[in-house]
Amino acid sequence: MPIMRVGGYLLVPIQIDLDDRTVGRLQQQLLKEIERTRARAVILDVRMVEVIDSYISYTLSETAVMARLMGCRTVLCGIQPPVALTLAQMGVTLQEVAVARNLEHALVLAGSFQERDKGV
């Protein structure tokens, strides 16, 4: 999975169908990258993801909690309307994950976390 660096953030455009193994590998890869780059926020772009089930949302949320313990925030952006409806109907809550409309909004949110964390 390609992980890009934008400013102090990591950007992960997820452009494949997320199966259990992929999402597990993504978690490991991300945590390593956060440690290596000391990123302040991770932005996961899920615009191309057509199904997010309970396991995928659990893993994403779990990753966010772990990242937070390493001082890094997680922003999820680009959730498609059908996926949003399905997640809401299942009663999924994404702990420690901020949700943004698009990449730009995600960058704004990541920036505002940074201010808050610094106590500005």
Partner: protein, 247 residues
Amino acid sequence: MDAGKVMEIVNGLTADGRQKDLWRRVMGGALGKEAADGLFETLRSLIEELGEEEVGAKILHIAGEHASFPAVDILRAALKVSGEMRRENEHVLMQLRQMLSELATPIIRIWTDILLVAMIGNLDGQRAQNIAERLLNRVSSVRAKVVLVDVTGVPMIDTVVGGFLMEMFNAIKFLGAEVILTGIKPEVAHTLVKLGVDFQMVTVARDLEDALRRGIAITMEERKRRRQLAFSLAGGRLEESGEDDEL
């Protein structure tokens, strides 16, 4: 079967000149003297004029009186045509119903980046899902930042309806937009608290004006942050413009 015999049968069916002409063409079609397309079209006109039952009765009459005539073919064609007509009617009805449901739940772009949805009438599962789907597609396509949900027109909010609303609000938040709820009447508030439905994940406003004010505040705050971000990404070289720089 010759034309004279056909005319005799037709004369036995009706006295109306136009209908006679239609029946003559139907029978010609059944006898293979006219194109099959014509048969269906003519039957359709007859059914529109006389109704299914009347046309059926007349075909049976032909079958009874003139055994040599292939009335079964006409009956088969008539059934096919009336089936098609019924499906078309249902399709029209469905579209009308959909139109009605859309009219019953207008979604209005009330301000830059702010949508207003006015919920009116009772909400059942189907209707709630339709509204939620329509609203979410709209939020996504216009990239709304805030959705004002006005429930003044919803007479009763019980646990089920409260559940639908919560689901819809959560779904909107998954798109990265904020929800501001308004129009909860005292008796509704009373019921909601008793039922244990809380809308903690959304902002609640006193009235529509208050909702709009709060919505605008949210969009302005985000615009400010966006400008600051652009400024810092450009390394401070960006001219700060007073104008709205929304894309």
